[in-house]
C-alpha cells in the first residue's frame, strides 16, 4: 500500500510538472473552440478519430482557387494528394495544370514544363522578395505547417477566416490593415479571402463562408500533420501491448516477491 502511494505521488509530481510547463498566453484573442472530425492535430483524447477526407478535398479546392494565389505550401508535393483520396489520374491532372520552371537543360537554359506528381506545390512567387514586394512588404506565410505553427491550431485558422468585421469605432487601423476579431492585435494585412459562394464546390456542397473556412482548415490540418491517423493507430497498438505487458510483469513481480513480503 505504501508502495502504491509513492507510485501515485510520483505520477502526480510528474503531471504537475507538465502543467507548470504551460506556455505564456499573453493577451491574445482566443478563437471559439470548434468540433473537428479528426479532433484537432494536438487533441489528446481523439484516439480513434481521423480526417474527414471529403472536407479535406473540398479544402484543397479552396486552397487551389483562393489561397494559392498568394500562399505557397512548399512542404507538400502533388503526389501527397493521393493520400487524401485523389486517384493517380486526378493527381497527374492537378499537377499538370501548373507550369513549373525547371532546368537548366543541356543548353544551360531554364525552361517551363507542366507539373508532375513529384513536384512540390507550385509557389505563386519566384522568391521571397517578390512575394514581399507584391504584398505590401511582407511575404505571406507558407501554409504547410500553419495549423501546428499557431496557438489554438484549427480553431485559430477557422476563426481568422470567418473573423473579418468592421473595425470598432476608435480603433487605430494602420494603413493597409484589415480588422479581424481573432488576429493578435486585430490589424491583419491579408484582406478577407473567403466570401459566401466565392467558389463553387465540385461535389455540390453549399459554399457558405463557414463551410469554406471549415474545409480549408481541415485541409491545412492534414497538410501540417499528414501522419496523424497512422500515429494514433500505432499508438493504440503500442499502448495496448504495454498495458498487457505491464499486467504480466506486475503479476510476475508479485509472485516473485511473495516470499519476501
Amino acid at each position: 500500500m505504501r508502495r502504491l502511494r509513492t507510485l501515485i505521488a510520483a505520477g502526480v509530481l510528474s503531471i504537475a510538472g507538465l502543467t507548470a510547463g504551460a506556455q505564456a498566453a499573453g493577451d491574445v484573442p482566443v478563437p471559439p473552440a470548434e468540433k473537428w472530425a479528426h479532433g484537432g492535430v494536438n487533441s489528446f483524447l481523439s484516439f480513434f478519430k481521423g480526417y474527414d477526407y471529403a472536407a479535406v478535398q473540398r479544402g484543397f479546392q479552396v486552397y487551389k482557387e483562393v489561397c494559392s494565389a498568394c500562399h505557397s505550401m512548399h512542404l507538400l508535393h502533388y503526389r501527397n494528394l493521393h493520400d487524401i483520396g485523389f486517384t493517380e489520374e486526378e493527381v497527374k491532372a492537378i499537377a499538370a495544370s501548373v507550369e513549373i520552371t525547371d532546368g537548366p537543360n543541356d543548353q544551360g537554359e531554364m525552361f517551363t514544363r507542366p507539373g508532375i506528381p513529384s513536384d512540390r506545390f507550385h509557389n505563386p512567387f519566384p522568391n521571397k522578395q517578390a512575394a514581399a514586394a507584391a504584398n505590401g512588404g511582407k511575404a505571406p506565410p507558407d501554409l504547410s505547417l500553419i495549423v501546428k505553427a499557431r496557438a489554438h491550431h484549427e480553431d485559430y485558422i477557422h476563426g481568422l477566416l470567418v473573423g473579418y468585421a468592421e473595425a470598432p469605432a476608435g480603433f487605430d487601423m494602420p494603413p493597409g490593415g484589415n480588422y479581424n476579431k481573432y488576429f493578435p492585435g486585430h490589424a491583419i494585412a491579408m484582406a478577407q479571402p473567403l466570401y459566401e459562394n466565392g467558389i463553387t464546390y465540385t461535389d455540390g456542397t453549399a459554399a457558405t463562408l463557414d463551410q469554406q473556412a471549415r474545409d480549408v482548415t481541415q485541409f491545412l490540418a492534414w497538410a501540417a500533420e499528414p501522419k496523424l491517423e497512422e500515429r494514433r493507430r500505432v499508438g493504440i497498438m503500442v499502448i495496448g501491448f504495454l498495458v498487457v505487458f505491464a499486467g504480466i510483469m506486475y503479476a510476475a513481480k508479485r509472485r516473485l516477491w511473495a516470499d519476501v513480503h
Partner: protein, 435 residues
C-alpha cells in the same frame, strides 16, 4: 594466465571468454547477485528509467542524424522531410523530441528521491556529484538539440541563452563570439551545436558509467537510510529488482507513449514550426518547460547590486541573474556538506521532511510556473519568491541539521520500528535455488 579467475560456466564458449576477460563474472556480480536493500520503493526505479531514456535518445538521435542537414537554409526542411518522407521518421522524431522531456521528468524525480532520502550523504557524495555533472551535461545537450530544427524558438532561444555569457565581465563578449562562431547566431553556430549535440551524449554516458560504478562500490541507499547489516537486509539484484524495474519501465513507457502518439506537440511550442527568421522576434521567447525553473531564477534578479548610497554598480542585474541561475545548479554540488545531519532518510527527520515538501518542492513549481509567463507582475514576484525559497532551502540546512531532533532509527532494514516488515531470511536462498 597467472591471475586468471577460475570460471565455472557449463557453456565452454562462455567459460573460454570468461577466463580471458571475466565480463560475465563481473556482470553476474554487479547485476546478478549484487546485494541490494530489500526495502526499495518505486522511487528507486527512476535511475533505471533514466538509463533507458538515455539509450533511447542516443539510438533515436543517431537515426535522426542520418537524415538531418545541419545548414541554416536546409535544417528546417530536412526535419520536415523526416516527418513526411522518411519511413517511421515521424515516430523517431517524436520519440526523440518527447524523450528529452521524459529524461528531465525522470531525472528531476530521481534527484527529488536523492534529496528526500538523503542519498547524497557519506559515503555517496561522489555519486551525487557525478549526478549533478550529468544534469549539467543534459541541460547543455538538450539546449543545443532544441536549436537544431532551426525554428523560431530554436533561433531566439539560442540567441537569448548564448547572450547570457556576455554578462561575464571582461571575457564575456569573447565567449559569446566563440559560441556563435561569428557575430550573431548563424550557420557556424548551428554547425558547432550539431557537432556538440552529437558528442555530449557520449560524454554523458561516460559520466553515467562513473555514477553507476561509484554506486556499486557503496551500494544503494534505501527508504530507511540505514546501511544493510547483513544478508537478511538485502536481496540479489536479479531477479528481484530486474523484475521490479521492468514493471516500472513498462508503466513509464505507457506515459511516454501517450505523449509520443497522442500529444506529441503538447510539450513543444507552436512557434518552432515557423522557420527561423532573424528579423522577426517572437512575442514571448520561452525555453522548453524543463528549463523554466532556472529561467525564472535568471529573470528574478531584476535589480543591480551596488555600494549603498553611491552609484557604484558591483553586479549589474543581468550578471546577477546569470550568477543566480548557475548558482542554483552549483549549490547542488555542496549539498552533501550543507546538510550536517547524520540521519539520511526524511522518515526520521521531522523538520527536514517538511522543509523539502513545503519549501523546495513548491519553490520548484512556482519557478516553473513563473518561468513560462511573460516578465510582468505578478509573475516576477512569484519567481522572486521561488528563488528565495529555493536558495533558502539549501542555505538553512546547516541550521536544521543542528536544531532537528531525529526520530530513533530502526535496528536494521529487516526489522524496522515502524510498519510490520516480517523477517524472511530463507527467501533469498529459496529463490536462488529456483533460479
Amino acid at each position: 594466465m597467472a591471475h586468471a579467475p577460475q570460471s565455472n560456466f557449463s557453456n565452454p564458449v562462455v567459460n573460454w571468454i570468461d577466463q580471458r576477460l571475466p565480463v560475465i563474472t563481473m556482470m553476474n556480480k554487479e547485476y546478478g547477485s549484487f546485494p541490494t536493500p530489500r526495502n526499495f520503493n518505486y522511487f528507486w526505479n527512476f535511475g533505471a528509467l533514466a538509463m533507458f531514456v538515455l539509450v533511447t535518445m542516443i539510438v533515436s538521435g543517431i537515426v535522426l542524424a542520418m537524415h538531418y542537414t545541419n545548414n541554416t537554409l536546409l535544417a528546417f526542411d530536412s526535419v520536415e522531410r523526416i516527418m513526411r518522407d522518411v519511413n517511421w521518421g515521424w515516430m523517431i522524431r517524436y520519440i526523440h523530441a518527447n524523450g528529452a522531456s521524459m529524461f528531465f521528468i525522470v531525472v528531476y524525480i530521481h534527484i527529488f528521491r536523492g534529496i528526500y532520502y538523503g542519498s547524497y550523504k557519506a559515503p555517496r557524495e561522489l555519486i551525487w556529484i557525478f549526478g549533478v555533472v550529468i544534469l549539467l551535461l543534459m541541460m547543455g545537450t538538450a539546449f543545443m538539440g532544441y536549436v537544431l530544427p532551426w525554428g523560431q524558438m530554436s533561433f531566439w532561444g539560442a540567441t537569448v541563452i548564448t547572450n547570457l555569457f556576455s554578462a561575464i565581465p571582461v571575457v564575456g563578449e569573447s565567449i559569446v563570439t566563440l559560441l556563435w562562431g561569428g557575430f550573431s547566431v548563424d550557420n557556424p553556430t548551428l554547425n558547432r551545436f550539431f557537432a556538440l549535440h552529437f558528442l555530449l551524449p557520449f560524454v554523458l554516458l561516460a559520466v553515467v558509467f562513473l555514477h553507476v560504478a561509484a554506486l556499486h562500490i557503496t551500494g544503494s541507499n534505501n527508504p530507511l537510510g540505514i546501511e544493510p547489516k547483513g544478508p537478511q537486509d538485502t536481496l540479489p539484484f536479479h531477479p528481484y529488482y530486474t523484475t521490479k524495474d521492468i514493471f516500472g519501465l513498462t508503466v513509464f513507457l505507457i506515459f511516454f507513449a501517450a505523449f509520443v502518439f497522442f500529444a506529441p506537440n503538447y510539450l513543444g511550442h507552436p512557434d518552432n514550426y515557423i522557420p527561423a527568421d532573424p528579423l522577426v522576434t517572437p512575442a514571448h521567447i520561452v525555453p522548453e518547460w524543463y528549463f523554466l525553473p532556472f529561467y525564472a531564477i535568471l529573470r528574478s534578479i531584476t535589480f543591480s547590486i551596488g555600494l549603498p548610497f553611491t552609484d557604484v554598480v558591483l553586479i549589474p542585474a543581468k550578471l546577477g541573474g546569470v550568477l543566480a541561475m548557475f548558482g542554483s545548479i552549483a549549490i547542488l554540488f555542496v549539498l552533501p556538506w550543507l546538510d550536517t545531519s547524520p540521519v539520511r532518510s526524511s522518515r526520521f527527520r521531522p523538520i527536514f521532511k517538511w522543509w523539502v515538501l513545503l519549501c523546495l518542492v513548491p519553490a520548484f513549481f512556482m519557478l516553473g510556473y513563473a518561468g513560462g509567463k511573460p516578465a510582468e507582475q505578478p509573475y516576477v514576484l512569484i519567481g522572486q519568491l521561488g528563488t528565495v525559497m529555493y536558495f533558502a532551502f539549501f542555505l538553512l540546512l546547516p541550521i536544521i541539521g543542528r536544531i532537528e531532533k531525529p526520530l530513533p532509527l530502526p535496528a536494521s532494514i529487516a526489522k524496522p520500528v515502524l510498519g510490520g516488515g516480517s523477517v524472511a531470511t530463507g527467501a533469498t536462498a529459496q529463490v536462488m535455488e529456483k533460479a
